[in-house]
Symmetry: C2
Subunit: 197 residues, 2 copies
Amino acid sequence: MAISEIDKLIQILARLPGLGPRSARRAALYLIKRKENILHPLIEALRMVDTAIRPCGNCGNLDVADPCAICTNEKRDRTKICVVADVSDLWALERTGAWRGLYHVLGGLLSALDGIGPEHLLISPLVRRVEEGGVTEIVLALGATVEGQTTAHFLADRLLPFGIQISRLAHGVPVGEELDYLDDGTLIQALEARRSL
Amino acid sequence: MAISEIDKLIQILARLPGLGPRSARRAALYLIKRKENILHPLIEALRMVDTAIRPCGNCGNLDVADPCAICTNEKRDRTKICVVADVSDLWALERTGAWRGLYHVLGGLLSALDGIGPEHLLISPLVRRVEEGGVTEIVLALGATVEGQTTAHFLADRLLPFGIQISRLAHGVPVGEELDYLDDGTLIQALEARRSL
């Protein structure tokens, strides 16, 4: 039992990924008890994001500008596009600072189980970007899951006619990982792709 | 790397209990992608809670009214007060429907480690409620932790002079729990407090 106003907040919070009914209750109480320190800043931050953030019409990234800051950055290598499933993957790659090309965010992965077909993802816009010319390499950074691999194969088929380089991320031992915790598939791939020192 | 507006939202979300930096990023993206379905309802629910919910001046419960709906409910047994650490404990007891008396929310537990003394909790208002008369039993529903037991002992000492009945929740085997998962302390208490069938 909780007051209906609090109950409504708990129900909405419980729909966020990572929060169940129990943690949503704790989060709601935490917010109510700290109106100045958390509740008000949260409302303000949500309103800012609501009004300011939009998807980039070119690559699907989220930004205050459309096209986004990456697409309009002159220092970026415009001949290379890294294809990711989600904006969170783009953020992860940007945190490394290792990718200096552009991105394309698909908005998900193909999944027969979840009924997600090519028409649900931003695949046509990607093909259009390649058709417009100037792109020489597409890196498919899609995760080593069934859905990731299915999507990678589908995209490779679609992009093959353009005669550009298509690559995927390397498989292998995660840095800092011990061998006996790794699955066989990763070990086999790491062995096959071994590099001389 | 994320846009500063999104980054700010992520930082605030990450301060909520149950959400770390990673799940805060996922929650922020989830919100941005579902403006109509989640982001707008969340802003509305937060604003409702912000303006409507306040602590009850009598018992510390959270409600739209002060005194709260429990304190003003004529069907409640006004001679019995159940003392809890937090509003979430009150909610848990209300969900059971097993308590028909009033409540008193302390707002925490005594903790030398965290520097929480009697003056930080709503202990004086509890003593005042007892002083005003009419209360015949205080149930200390405070959790079987060091802090809970310390607080229970402190309250029992303070309430002893009033000559009212002071009780605590029973210890024992949680319903649905298997014996070999239980700690020794619980087993000993459950054995000592055994009841004839």
